[in-house]
């Protein structure tokens, strides 16, 4: 090697090293510039991203407002329930995980049955479909429908799509931000073009709601009502279960299942229509419940409370580190109902045990007890009843079908949502109308057992006739002929006007919805709803509460209360109001009401009275006044009528007369009114009378000293309403 060569090497090296060092310097400067551009101008963006990634937002369910009876006893409360939630959204925030494996691990930890395990996996799949996938599969459809939906869907029905898998076709739904109205229309249109059974439609509706809830929550509900042991095992292994969370929720709890079910109502799964116009976060939690029927439905907004919000910092494994901010949930309002648990329980028991013939028990009926001066409903019993708590957990189709297909309609509140011909309990209306038209109470009509009006002949229930009847006697002995005759002088307008003032033909409840209006017929009504003109025979029928007249037991009780309280327009209510305005006067003359009340007293307490055998009481403070009603529900032949008199069991159940009774008590200074109907109970006095008597006496005794438990003591009711 020559020195020249060495020099060349050295100078070449130096030049090249300077070049390399320059490149290095430039590269480092480039890194500095990148650093600057990430950190200085964009810090806020990245801080926001970081916050978004390391926090999760959870909505805390508020305690649903409890419902108390009038003495503060809990009717509907809540029980704590631990649910297992899974949040696939976390997947985007941490290193890839196998969600199915995690869910299987969780299932093994809670010792889930193979069936439940599969359902958990299915829930996870649904969650992934909704959150990140093609959408929730709603239903299988035909190839033609597939083409239709694939073509029309995207434009006209936002969110809906069609997929094909293994030669089969499905309707899918994905939550898109569109106007609720458009979506409601889309759902309606799709359901109308697809040939689906009601059950399938129900399923689809439920799945749509589930998809919305999963989408809003970002997670799915894997398992409900975990035990303490299951929760402990899951918590101990939380590190192995990223994305799984225990949700501490509350579940509606009815302390007395079946009791006051219709007045209280129940809570059940949210349906698509519930989400229309209600943006509450609570309805969009998986498995959210909403109040149905009765107080639960009417007071839903107050009972529900407001969702709380928690922002929690989590680590990369999804474990909670600390709570960043927390808005506590606002619990729902406590509702104090007017129901007297003791009386309610007794009413239900009393109804359930009432025979309708020598060997047959009641199948369906209703009883209402209210305070005559305020309209507070103390008891509202509808038989048969149902267990409200079955809706609290996921209800199966078979249970649901059994309930809605039951011919005795356990879900229907027969006190207010069902109407019946009132029969003779309506006679007070005709009586008051007659007096208001100036017909003297002393005027007499001779009952020969039948009356001819125009071409028709109308029979009194007593074929032999009652003989000479004045106004009072006609009510006491329930002589139909008197009413037939007088109806022609009163006319349908006056009769319907008085009926209206007593509360018929309209919804009466101040606070709880779900009533039917019933029917108070007159010329206008008949022309408008039936398109027919009014006949004199219609007036005759209406005068004894038959024909077109339909009333609810609640209306009958209200009528009785209004008669008993001196003609003030009390309205029934189920919730203790903050403020009760004094009921206005209905414009009845005191002496007219006095005559009606005296007649009603004689019905129950004198031996001419139709209810004397069933309702007579010696003790003056426990005496009640009332009126029997035996309403014909089918046009019976003369033969059937005779057979019925001999043995009611020979007649088909649903052709037998309804048994009604309305009453108030005590006779002096009335405090409570009661109406009872026993469906197809044959005789108002015999079937319904004793029930009314017992309920009124229970009310009188039970509340006399403000001692709620006296009812129980006296009637020896065991257990069900003991809160100890």
């Amino acid at each position: 090697m020559t020195a020249r060569d060495g020099k060349k090497r050295e100078s070449g090296f130096t030049r090249r090293l300077v070049l390399a060092a320059t490149i290095q310097g430039a590269a480092l400067a480039g890194l500095g510039y990148r650093l600057y551009s990430l950190q200085v101008p964009r810090q806020d963006d990245f801080l926001a991203d970081s916050f978004d990634i390391r926090t999760v937002t959870r909505y805390d369910a508020p305690t649903r407002g409890i419902i108390l009876d009038r003495f503060g006893r809990q009717l509907a409360g809540n029980e704590q329930s631990y649910n297992l939630m899974f949040y696939p959204e976390r997947k985007a925030k941490r290193i890839e995980t196998n969600d199915t494996a995690i869910v299987r691990r969780a299932a093994a930890l809670i010792e889930a049955s193979p069936f439940l395990t599969e359902r958990m996996i299915e829930q996870l799949d649904i969650g992934q479909d909704v959150i990140a996938g093609e959408g929730r599969l709603l239903s299988e459809i035909t190839a033609e429908d597939f083409d239709l939906i694939a073509e029309v869907g995207p434009g006209r029905w936002p969110g809906f799509g069609a997929i094909e898998r293994f030669g089969r076709y499905g309707l899918t739904y994905k939550v898109v931000s569109s106007r609720a109205k458009d979506e409601a229309r889309a759902i309606e249109e799709i359901l109308s073009i697809l040939p689906l059974s009601t059950e399938q439609q129900r399923t689809i509706n439920r799945r749509i709601v589930e998809a919305k809830q999963i989408n809003a929550e970002g997670g799915v509900l894997l398992a409900e009502d975990l035990s303490w042991g299951q929760v402990a095992r899951l918590k101990a292994r939380a590190l192995d279960l990223p994305g799984a969370e225990i949700d501490v929720a509350e579940k509606r709890f009815y302390h007395y299942p079946g009791t006051a079910a219709h007045a209280l109502g129940y809570v059940s799964q949210v349906q698509p229509q519930d989400l229309l116009g209600d943006n509450d976060r609570m309805l969009r939690r998986p498995n959210a419940k909403i109040g149905r029927k009765g107080i639960e439905r009417t007071m839903e907004k107050s009972l529900r409370g407001r969702a709380g919000r928690r922002i929690m910092e989590i680590n990369a494994f999804g474990q909670e580190q600390r709570v960043v901010s927390r808005v506590p949930p606002i619990p729902g309002r406590v509702i104090r109902s007017t129901i007297d648990l003791g009386l309610q329980t007794y009413a239900e028991q009393r109804l359930a045990e009432q025979p309708i013939s020598e060997s047959e028990m009641i199948r369906a009926g209703a009883a209402v007890v209210m305070k005559v001066d305020t309209g507070e409903v103390l008891a509202m019993a509808s038989h048969p009843t149902f267990d409200q708590s079955i809706f609290t957990s996921r209800i199966t189709n078979s249970v649901w079908n059994e309930l809605i297909n039951d011919e005795h309609k356990p879900l229907v509140n027969k006190c207010s949502a069902e109407h019946y011909p009132p029969g003779s309990t309506y006679k007070m209306v005709t009586m008051l109308a007659a007096m208001e038209l100036g017909i003297s109470p002393r005027e007499q009509v001779t009952c020969s057992g039948k009356t001819e009006v125009g071409p028709q002949t109308f029979y009194c229930w007593k074929r032999d006739g009652h003989g000479r009847m004045d106004m009072e006697a006609a009510l006491v002995e329930s002589c139909d002929t008197w009413y037939y005759e007088m109806s022609q002088r009163i006319g349908p307008e006056k009769m319907s006007e008085v009926a209206g003032r007593l509360g018929f033909g309209d919804r009466l409840m101040i606070d709880v919805a779900g009533e039917t209006r019933g029917v108070v017929p007159n010329e206008n009504w008949k022309r408008n709803s039936l398109g027919q003109s009014w006949f004199d025979g219609d007036t005759v029928q209406a005068s004894i509460g038959q024909g077109y007249v339909l009333t609810t037991p609640l209306q009958l009780a209200t009528m009785t209360a209004r008669i008993a309280n001196g003609g003030r327009a009390v309205r029934p209510h189920l919730i203790v109001p903050d403020l009760l305005y004094p009921a206005e006067d209905l414009g009845f003359k005191a002496e007219h009401l006095e005559i009606v009340r005296r007649a009603m007293d004689r019905v129950t307490n004198t031996d001419q009275g139709t209810a004397y055998r069933y309702t007579q009481v010696e003790e003056p403070s426990l005496r009640i006044a009332g009126k029997t009603g035996t309403a014909q529900v089918a046009r019976l032949s003369v033969g059937e009528r005779l057979r019925m008199l001999e043995d009611v069991r020979s007649l088909d159940y649903d052709r037998r007369n309804h048994a009604l009774f309305v009453g108030y008590g005590p006779v002096k200074n009335p405090r409570y009114a009661c109406a009872v109907i026993i469906e197809h109970g044959d005789s108002g006095g015999r079937s319904a009378g004793p029930v009314v008597l017992d309920l009124l006496q229970a009310a009188i005794v039970g509340n006399s000293g403000g001692q709620p438990n006296m009812v129980n003591d006296r009637y020896n009711l065991v257990g069900r309403n003991d809160e100890a």
Partner: protein
């Protein structure tokens, strides 16, 4: 060749220990101590503000390796020259042994368990290869380097470890090794036309690779491709290949100018930036100490590299020059690749940041480089190899 120089050389053939100690490059060692201290602080933060499990081990290792490095730095450069081939041979044996006795972690086989520490031969073999090439090229004349056929031996020498490391798989380290080979050949005097061909080949291969990745689409691409593609799209595969980069960028960006404070980088402390004590320690530094802290560290690294360049320029022997410059380049590649991938400029590969990242092998390689640089600095004027023989 003047006699003055000859005499000077001869006089300095044997330096006394006192001579050596007195000419130790203190600024270099102080830089190393400062950077190491920052590293300990970062390990302390990464361990959740505790000495366990990282910072304690890190500080012990640093102290030990630093002491070894100072001692090794006092060793005569000619000893290093002599053991160059042996060093390469020994590290190669270890590298070859990895597939047979190595430990697997994260789907890669890179480690050998030596009881006291796990060794990553791929880190060490780089030093061995660079020493070997420096020694080989020390003896190659300008003329010889003009002949492409004379490049066959050094390239073949480099190809074996490169291939073995790529198979582990550790693409980043193997490419870095190739880059070091390129640098040493370039500095040794590779002809410009060959340099141009090399640079052209690198550009062509990169272009071809990226283009192929882009055409195949994300789903069809292998994981190497995905790591490249996520650089171009912030939103891509955030749970998979894009996860590290996305999280690191968020953490770095969150730091702002002043940083969130020591131990206060929430994104890191909650574990969203994985491996934030090793390959992603930069994101931890950036989140907690911000732009200012990072610039200080980059400045210290620049000084370190500058010191390496000056060491190379000061060295009189070709061996010393090439070794110092290439070791410096190697440190530069560590820094640029690591910081670049942390900030989403380069694909994510396994690449530690010198002094700051946890891990013994890379630290051993780094401290080894420091030791060699020290030795070269001290023995700047000592002739090495045939030069030395010739002058004797």
């Amino acid at each position: 060749m003047t006699s003055t120089l000859d005499q000077t050389d001869t006089r300095r053939v044997q330096l006394s220990l006192l001579d050596r100690v007195s000419s130790v490059p203190w600024p270099l060692l102080i830089l190393v101590i400062i950077l190491s201290s920052i590293g300990v602080a970062m390990q302390y933060s990464a361990g959740g503000l505790a000495w366990e499990p990282f910072a304690g081990t890190h500080v012990v290792r640093l102290a030990l390796f630093f002491a070894l490095a100072v001692v090794a730095g006092l060793v005569d450069i000619r000893v290093w020259y002599r053991v160059a081939y042996i060093a390469f041979f020994v590290t190669m044996i270890m590298l070859i042994a990895v597939p047979f006795i190595g430990d697997e972690f994260n789907n890669a086989k890179r480690w050998i368990d030596l009881r006291v520490m796990t060794l990553q031969p791929s880190e060490l073999v780089q030093i061995g290869l660079i020493m070997t090439l420096a020694r080989y090229l020390n003896n190659a004349s300008w003329e010889e380097l003009g002949n492409p056929f004379d490049l066959v031996f050094p390239l073949a020498l480099a190809a074996v470890p490169t291939y073995l490391i790529m198979e582990q798989p550790d693409l980043g380290t193997s490419l870095k090794l190739l880059a070091c080979v390129g640098v040493i050949l370039f500095l040794a005097g590779l002809r410009w036309w060959l340099v141009m061909i090399g640079v052209g080949a690198v550009i062509a291969v990169s272009y071809w690779f990226v283009d192929r990745c882009l055409t195949n689409g994300f789903e069809a691409a292998g994981y190497q491709c995905r790591r490249v593609l996520v650089l171009f799209d912030d939103e891509l595969d955030l749970a998979g290949a894009g996860y590290h980069i996305n999280q690191a960028k968020i953490a770095i960006g969150s730091g702002g100018v002043e940083g969130q404070g020591f131990g206060q980088g929430q994104h890191n402390q909650l574990g969203f930036t994985p491996e934030n004590n090793t390959d992603f320690v930069w994101s931890l530094l950036a989140e907690e100490f911000g732009f200012i802290g990072c610039m200080v560290v980059l400045f210290l690294f620049s000084l370190l590299l500058l010191y390496g360049v000056v060491t190379a320029l000061r060295a009189r022997s070709q061996f010393g020059r090439l070794l110092a410059a290439t070791l410096t380049a190697n440190l530069f590649f560590y820094i640029v690749i690591n910081v670049g991938m942390n900030m989403g400029l380069l694909p994510v590969v396994g690449m530690p940041l010198p002094f700051l990242s946890y891990g013994g092998s890379a630290m051993l390689a780094t401290m080894g480089s420091v030791a060699l640089l020290t030795s070269i600095w001290i023995h700047a004027d000592v002739p090495v190899g045939e030069e030395g023989r010739q002058s004797r």
